[in-house]
Amino acid sequence: MTDSPALAASASSRKLAEKPYDFSRKYWLFALPAVIVVLSVIVFPWLFTVFMSVNDWKIGGGMDFVGLDNFRTLIADERFRESLFITIYFTILAVIIPIVLGTVAALVFHREFPFRGLLRTIFVMPMMATPVAVALVWKMMFHPQLGVLNYLLSLVGISPSEWVFSTSTVIPTLVMVEVWHWTPLVMLILLGGLAGMPTEPYESAKIDGANSWQMFRFITLPLLWPYIMIALVIRTIDALKVFDIIFVISEGGPGTASETLNIFLYLQAFQFYKIGYSSAVVVIFFTIIVALSLVLLYVRQKTKWNA
C-alpha cells in the first residue's frame, strides 16, 4: 500500500514543503518584477513621504531638516485638530447609516416580489454616477432660495433648510449625499452574503417554532456579520478618504465647518504648497487608516463562520 502513487506524491510534496528555501536556485528572479513594482509604486512613495514630513519644504523654496517639528506644529494647530474631529464625525455617520440602510435594503431585495430586478437596478443606480457630477447636481438642489429640495419641503409644509450653507447642517447634509451614493454598495455586498447562506438553520428554527424576528436576530444577523464587516471596512476606508463630494459641494465650509483631514491636506499641499507640513498630515492620516483597518480586520476574523 505504501507504494501507491497517491501516497508517494503526498510524501514527496510534504518533503518539498519541509525543505528549507534554497537561495542557490534562482526562483527569486521570477518574483523580481513584482518586487520592483511594489518597491517603486508603494514603498518608495511612502518612504519619500516620511522623508518629506521631517523636512520644512515649500515648493519653490529650499528644504531644511526639521525633525519632528512638523508633527509638533500639527498637534498644536487648531485647524488640524478641528479637521480631525470633523473627519471622525463625518466617518461615523457616513459608515453607520449606509450599513443600517444597506442591510435593510438587502433583506428587502433578497425576498421574491414583482419587479424585484427592475427595482434593484434602480436602487443601485446612484453608485454608478461620477462623484463630481453627483456633487454638482446636489449643490444646485441645496440652493436655499432656488433649490428643489426647499421647494419640496415647502409642499409638505416644512420650513426651508439651509443645507450645506449652514455650519450646523453642513455635515449631516454631506452625509446624506454620501448615504444616497453608497448605500447600494453595502446592499450589493450583503445580498451576496444572503445568497450564500445555508437554509438548514432556518428549517430547524421553523420546526422549533421561531418567529421571523427570532430567525433574523439569531440566524440571519450572525451569519451576515462577516459580510457586514467587509462592508464596514470598505465604507470606513471610503468615508475617511472622501474628498470630491465635500470639495465640490462645500469646499470645506462654511468657514471650516466641513473641513475634513482631506480638505485640510489639500489646502496645505496644493494651495499653500507646504509639502513638508502636508506630508506630516499624510503620515498621521495613513497611520490612523492602517490602525483602524487592522482593528476592523481583527473583528472580522472573530465574526467569521464560513472560512
Partner: protein, 452 residues
C-alpha cells in the same frame, strides 16, 4: 435749404480751407508716413517656422485668444500650441513646472492678483522692458501707454520690472435691479454706509426677495471685505511699507459692514455662497443688489438664463467714508524665463494684447480689456448686448481701480485665514476679535514668505 447752404461756401473759403489742409498735410505727412513705414517695416516673420507652447486659464477670453491663433500664424509664420486649464489647476501647474526649472510652455497667463509676487520672486518670467525697448522685436504700434493705469499697476513689480503685459482687468462694482429700485422709488446708494439703508428698504424676505447679496464663502469673500476697506483709503497690506492693516479700526469697520449686509439683508445661507450662488440669486430676481466683479455680467443679459435681462443696473462701487475705489483684479501674459523661443513668445504677446484683440474682448462681452483705446472704438460698445451704463461703469471703475488683494506671495493663505475670520462673523463672532486672531496667525506666515 441744403442747396442754399452749399452755395453759401464761397470760392475764397474753399481756397483757404485747401491751403490750410496743404499746410497741415505738409507738417503731418512725414510723421504719418514714418509711422506707416515703421509699421510696414516691422518684421512679424522674424521667428517664422517656430512653434510656441502657451498655457492659458480656462475662460471666455482664452477662447478668443485661441480663435485668433490662426490669424497670428498667418501673420508671423509661428505655430501656437495652446492649452486652457481650469484656474486652480493652472495655478498648481504653473507653480510645479516653474519650480522644476523646466516649464513646458513659452508663454503663460498669470492671475496677477494671486501670482504676481510669486512669479517675480521665483524668477518665473522675463522682465519685458528690454523687449519693449528693442525696436527690432517690438511693433512700433504696440503703444504701452494705452494700457490702463489699473492694469499696469498690477503688471509692474515694486522695483519697476514689467513681468507681464496686462490682458484683462476685472473691477468690482454693484449690480442692481433697476426694476426693484424704481418700484420702491429708491435711488442708487451714494455711499458705502448708504448701501445698508437701501438694502433695508428693498429687503422683502416674505416674498423671497433680499436687499443685498455677496460672497460669504471663506476665501471667496475676501474681495467683499477689501472693497469696503478701500473706502477707508486702505489696502489690507500697505504696498509701500508692508504693514498689515487688517485689525485696525478701518478693517473692523469694513468687516462690520460685510457682516451687517450679509447677515441682515442677504438670502439665507449666504455664509456658504460663492459668486455663482450670488449670481443665481440676482439673476432670478431674488436680490436687489450684488457686489462682485463686472466679469460676471454676461449671463445676466442672457434671456435663456436670466429673469433680469434689461433690468440690470451697473453701478460703480459707492464711495467710502475716506476714499472712492473699485477693487481690481487682473490677468497678464508673460514669457517663461526657461523658454528658448522668447522672440516668438514676445510676438505672440504683442499680437494677443494688441488693440484689435482687446476690442474683440469688449465686443464679445468677455470682460474688460486692459487697453483704454478699446472703449474709444464706437463699434466695440455699439455691437455689444450691454447697455451704455455697463461701459460707463467699466470706464469709471478703471479710473479708481486699486488692487483688491494684497500683492504678496502667501495670498492664498491670506484669503484662507481672513476668509474664515469673516465667515465666523456671520455666525455671530465679534469682527474685532476675529480680525485680531487672524492677523496674529497670518503675521508669521507673511514674515516667513518675505524671508524665504
Amino acid at each position: 435749404m441744403t442747396d442754399k447752404r452749399t452755395s453759401d461756401v464761397t470760392r475764397r473759403q474753399l481756397l483757404q480751407t485747401g491751403a490750410s489742409l496743404s499746410v497741415l498735410g505738409a507738417v503731418g505727412a512725414p510723421a504719418i508716413i514714418s509711422a506707416a513705414n515703421a509699421q510696414s517695416s516691422f518684421n512679424w516673420k522674424q521667428a517664422a517656422g517656430q512653434q510656441i507652447d502657451v498655457m492659458l486659464v480656462k475662460n471666455p477670453r482664452s477662447d478668443l485668444l485661441q480663435a485668433a491663433e490662426k490669424e497670428f500664424t498667418e501673420l508671423t509664420g509661428i505655430k501656437v500650441s495652446s492649452e486652457q486649464i481650469p484656474e486652480q489647476q493652472q495655478r498648481q501647474k504653473a507653480m510645479i513646472e516653474f519650480s522644476s526649472g523646466r516649464p513646458t510652455f513659452d508663454v503663460t497667463m498669470l492671475a496677477l492678483h494671486v501670482q504676481k509676487r510669486l512669479a517675480y520672486k521665483g524668477k518665473w518670467v522675463e522682465d519685458l522692458r528690454p523687449f519693449i525697448d528693442n525696436p527690432a522685436i517690438t511693433n512700433p504700434n504696440f503703444d504701452l501707454a494705452d494700457f490702463s493705469a489699473a492694469g499696469m499697476n498690477f503688471a509692474r513689480q515694486a522695483d519697476g520690472a514689467l513681468t507681464t503685459i496686462p490682458h484683462f482687468v476685472d473691477f468690482w462694482m454693484l449690480y442692481y435691479n433697476k426694476e426693484m429700485f424704481d418700484k420702491k422709488g429708491v435711488a442708487y446708494p451714494t455711499s458705502m454706509e448708504n448701501i445698508i439703508k437701501v438694502a433695508q428698504q428693498l429687503n422683502d424676505p416674505s416674498n423671497g426677495v433680499y436687499g443685498f447679496v455677496s460672497r460669504g464663502l471663506k476665501n471667496a469673500n475676501i474681495p467683499v471685505w477689501t472693497s469696503w476697506l478701500l473706502g477707508q483709503g486702505l489696502e489690507t497690506i500697505d504696498p509701500a511699507t508692508g504693514k498689515l492693516n487688517t485689525d485696525g479700526e478701518a478693517a473692523i469697520w469694513a468687516a462690520t459692514l460685510y457682516r451687517d449686509l450679509n447677515k441682515n439683508y442677504a438670502p439665507p445661507g449666504t455664509i456658504g455662497f460663492n459668486w455663482n450662488e450670488c449670481q443665481t440669486s440676482f439673476m432670478q430676481g431674488r436680490a436687489a443688489m450684488w457686489l462682485d466683479g463686472i466679469g460676471f455680467a454676461t449671463p445676466l443679459e442672457d434671456p435663456t438664463k436670466s429673469k433680469v435681462v434689461g433690468k440690470v443696473g451697473y453701478g460703480v462701487t459707492p464711495p467710502g467714508p475716506k476714499a472712492h475705489h473699485s477693487a481690481t483684479f487682473a490677468d497678464g501674459l508673460g514669457i517663461s524665463r526657461a523658454s528658448t523661443k522668447k522672440t516668438a513668445a514676445w510676438l505672440y504677446i504683442q499680437f494677443m494684447t494688441g488693440k484689435k484683440e482687446q476690442i474683440a474682448m469688449l465686443k464679445a462681452g468677455a470682460g474688460c480689456p486692459a487697453r483704454m483705446s478699446a472703449f474709444a472704438d464706437p463699434e466695440a460698445t455699439k455691437s455689444s448686448t450691454f447697455s451704455k451704463q455697463y461701459f460707463d461703469c467699466l470706464q469709471s471703475s478703471a479710473k479708481i481701480g486699486r488692487p483688491g488683494l494684497p500683492q504678496i506671495i502667501p495670498v492664498t493663505e491670506f484669503r484662507d485665514i481672513f476668509g474664515v475670520a469673516l465667515t465666523n462673523t456671520l455666525s455671530g463672532a465679534d469682527p474685532a476679535a476675529e480680525l485680531k486672531k487672524a492677523t496674529e496667525i497670518f503675521k508669521p506666515v507673511l514674515e516667513k514668505s518675505e524671508q524665504g
